[in-house]
């Protein structure tokens, strides 16, 4: 981006924000006058594709961008802070690059937000006027916080060079940015929370308790879930950016830097994603405690098969990251010592994936039913939770081992107990794998209650204890280790970068699908149980149609992200030329 003064950059940002917002409100005002009045039920119809699908695409794209611009600052500031304390200029540069990304992405977020802002009140006037009546004041607070966020964001980015010697102040600005980001997240989750798990209103929708309309069942768990997922997603996009720059850069220095950036971002993304199942569980508990029917419908009813789809997607993500780490071994001097082990890790991950997607009951043709009968031993044994939990845990363990092998592959421990340490490491791996397997097999012989209530928690804690022990062991064993050679950053085949892109694409798709499930839990209600959706497209589409729309949003989002990447590169070229005076 062009080097401009803080004042100029800030003004640009505020003007941009106000222009987009103003254009949105103007369009709303004009279109309200021009368009035909809504139907008696309170609907207008979007031409050709219908209101529901239009809002779906716009909202999901906006949400993807919002997740990105709220997620990236969290670890950008963290890295700036670490870089500052450790005096590592490389960390400062990566943080600056992250800041570049989200500052530019803000414009797109605001743009999609404005489209959303214009579309919803025009297409669903009655619903929106009800929401404004209940939560309208939060909307104006939201706009205020939004403006503050934009100001801080532009200030943070444009003052980077200027506050070089006053890092403390600059990091504080970054903290402020994340504070406003969290506020935005909390406010938007109020609306979704109220729509899905309403409270504080009578059954006809009249306001009873203002605080209850905010503090709904879903509000905090949803915010937490979004907060964590935003980091995962933001890091994923940052990894995709690094991959894109890696492929397009020409000098070895650039390649080395972007290779490192891709690795760092992917590690953050996958590492933080370990928290998501737990947070998702909290959200599920809240949905069940709001309304059992909604919980059952979501987990085992209409949406049951989308969870199978989720398993396939997460399995694919695990495979991609392992692939990336395995290729990465080649750039580590000394990495060749570990090639042999990749084979076994591959087999573990592959078997884990296969078991994970094995169905228990499957559609059979008549001739197959004739030969198979009522019961198939393979599906019956592998298609149950006992097998699946075990498979997932072992795949995750293998992924962690890939990661730890990669990190330590260019080092040779020098501590006197190195040999014993190696034996201990092998012991931990054997014992944890054996233990998880044993408990998994044991799970077949006990009742479901014991399996879920006792064995599975032991399996999961065994996994967490094992990775913690391995991490600590590595930490102490490789203290002051002899370094065989520095990693040859940048010496990676392009294929490895495709794996990073694939992770991002899968994450985006997964987010689109889970977003649909979260919104679909309301079924044919605007506000569940209080305001019915009487529009003609108030039904839940088939899984196929849903995946088509999720794909459209994913491609649309990635297209715009590609444009962001491209503009950054153009602006960089532009400022380079200015610096060299050409």
């Amino acid at each position: 981006m062009a080097e401009v003064s803080v004042g100029k950059g800030l003004t640009k940002g505020i003007v941009k924000f106000l222009v987009i917002l103003g254009a949105g409100f103007a369009a709303l005002f004009v279109l309200k006058g021009v368009l035909a009045p809504p139907t008696a039920d309170g609907y207008r119809f979007f031409p050709v594709i219908g209101s529901r699908d239009w809002i779906w695409v716009v909202a999901q794209t906006h949400l993807d961008f919002a997740a990105f611009v709220l997620g990236v600052p969290i670890f950008a500031v963290t890295m700036e802070f670490i870089g500052w304390r450790k005096g590592d200029p490389r960390l400062d540069r990566i943080a600056y690059d992250f800041a570049k990304l989200f500052t530019l992405a803000y414009t797109f977020t605001a743009f999609m937000g404005a489209v959303f802002l214009v579309s919803v009140p025009l297409l669903y006037p009655k619903f929106i006027s009800y929401m404004m009546q209940i939560l309208g004041y939060t909307w104006w607070i939201y706009l205020g916080v939004m403006l503050a966020e934009v100001v801080v964001c532009y200030l943070y980015f444009y003052s980077w060079k200027k506050l070089k010697d006053r890092k403390g102040l600059h990091v504080f600005l970054g903290g402020l940015l994340n504070f406003f980001g969290l506020l935005l997240l909390l406010i938007t989750s109020i609306w979704v929370g109220f729509m899905t798990t309403p409270a504080g209103v009578s059954k006809t929708g009249a306001l009873i308790n203002r605080w209850a309309t905010i503090h709904t069942h879903m509000w905090l768990p949803l915010t937490l879930h979004r907060f964590i997922a935003n980091i995962v997603f933001g890091a994923g996009i940052a990894a995709a950016y690094a991959a894109f720059r890696f492929i397009t850069s020409k000098t070895p220095e650039e390649k080395a830097y972007y290779d490192w950036m891709g690795y760092t971002s992917a590690t953050i993304s996958i590492g933080v994603s370990l928290l998501l199942p737990g947070v998702g569980y909290l959200l599920g508990v809240e949905i069940y405690s709001f309304n059992e029917q909604m919980g059952i419908q979501l987990m085992g009813g209409f949406f049951a098969w989308l969870w199978v789809m989720q398993a396939m997607l997460i399995g694919a993500i695990l495979f991609f990251i392992n692939y990336y780490l395995w290729i990465s071994l080649h750039k580590m001097p000394g990495g060749e010592r570990y090639y042999g082990q990749v084979k076994y890790l591959f087999i573990v991950v592959l078997l884990g994936y296969v078991i994970w997607i094995t169905p228990h009951d499957i559609a059979l043709s008549l001739s197959e039913a004739r030969r198979i009968g009522a019961y198939h031993p393979v599906l019956g044994k592998l298609g149950v939770m006992a097998a699946k939990n075990t498979a997932v845990i072992l795949s995750y363990l293998a992924t962690f081992l890939s990661f730890s092998i990669f990190r330590m592959s260019n080092k040779e421990p020098v501590v006197p107990w190195a040999k014993a340490g190696r034996v201990l490491k092998a012991l931990i791996i054997t014992v944890s794998t054996g233990g998880v397997l044993f408990l998994g097999v044991l799970g077949y012989t006990v009742s479901a209650e014991v399996r879920v209530g006792v064995l599975s928690p032991i399996q999961f804690s065994l996994f967490f204890i094992a990775i913690l022990a391995l991490f600590l062991l590595d930490f102490f064993m490789y203290r002051g280790a002899r370094i065989i050679g520095e990693p040859r950053w940048g010496q990676m085949p392009e294929r490895s970068q495709y794996a990073l892109i694939a992770i991002t694409v899968t994450f985006t798709w997964l987010m689109g699908m889970l977003g649909y499930m979260r919104a679909g839990a309301r079924q044919y209600w605007h506000v569940y149980g209080i305001m019915m959706n009487k529009a003609p497209d108030a039904y839940l589409p088939t899984a196929g149609v849903a995946s088509i729309i999720v794909t459209i949003t994913t491609l649309l989002f990635l297209l715009m992200v590609a444009f962001v990447f491209w503009s950054i590169m153009r602006l960089e070229k532009f400022s380079e030329r200015r610096v060299t005076g050409q």
């Binding site: 059954k203 991959a243 894109f244 492929i247 397009t248 020409k250 309304n291 059992e292 029917q293 059952i296 419908q297 009813g301 209409f302 098969w305 989308l306 199978v308 789809m309 396939m312 997607l313 392009e494 970068q497 495709y498 892109i501 694939a502 694409v505 899968t506 798709w509 079924q523 044919y524 209600w525 569940y528 149980g529 209080i530 019915m532 959706n533 108030a538 039904y539 839940l540 589409p541 088939t542 899984a543 196929g544 849903a546 995946s547 088509i548 999720v550 794909t551 994913t554 491609l555 990635l558």
Partner: protein
């Protein structure tokens, strides 16, 4: 460099196509439609009432989310196939007419929970299902048809139903 970017775009598109393919080919395809309000003709025959009730129980009433059809070891709510007999038995035990037990269970389910079950049922006349009086009577007729004789009628049973609704509202069951 150009080639690299093109390959990259190809990866993105192919991956998305794979996901759509899975969504279209491997997952079962069904839609979930919002329900329509059913208007009953006064003096409708009991057989028709039961037939309509069955449709509501298995459809817009969403009863089968928690109730199972056959009695089973994992049931969360009484099974449908024997529920008429069950209601008659409970009514006898409490010494009230079976219709009263029936309508109370539908519009004020928290007032009396059968032993061994938890109080998880939402009133059928309240959101999210919001069944009309006629629909509730149809459901009641269907429930009675499962193991007992049908005694409710439309609009004959409306006052009985209204009385139960009023009682529930006074007890504060609809908040």
């Amino acid at each position: 460099m150009k080639k690299g970017v093109l390959k990259l775009a190809l990866i993105v598109i192919v991956l998305n196509l794979v996901f759509v393919y899975i969504g279209l080919e491997y997952l079962p395809q069904s839609e979930s439609k919002p329900p329509k309000t059913i208007v009953l003709k006064p003096g409708i025959s009991q057989a028709d009432l039961v037939a309509i009730g069955e449709k509501i129980v298995f459809g817009k009433g969403q009863c089968m989310v928690c109730h199972s059809e056959q009695p089973s070891t994992t049931e969360r709510a009484p099974a449908m196939s024997t529920i008429g007999a069950e209601i008659a038995r409970e009514a006898k035990a409490r010494g009230i007419p079976p219709e009263q037990q029936l309508f109370e269970a539908l519009v004020n389910p928290g007032a009396y929970v059968v032993k061994g079950f938890e109080n998880i049922m939402p009133p059928a006349n309240q959101p999210p299902t919001s069944l009309t009086d006629g629909e509730i009577i149809a459901v009641a007729a269907y429930l009675q048809s499962q193991g007992a004789s049908v005694t409710v009628s439309y609009p004959g049973s409306v006052p009985l139903l209204k009385a139960q609704e009023q009682k529930a509202a006074q007890a504060g069951a609809y908040k």
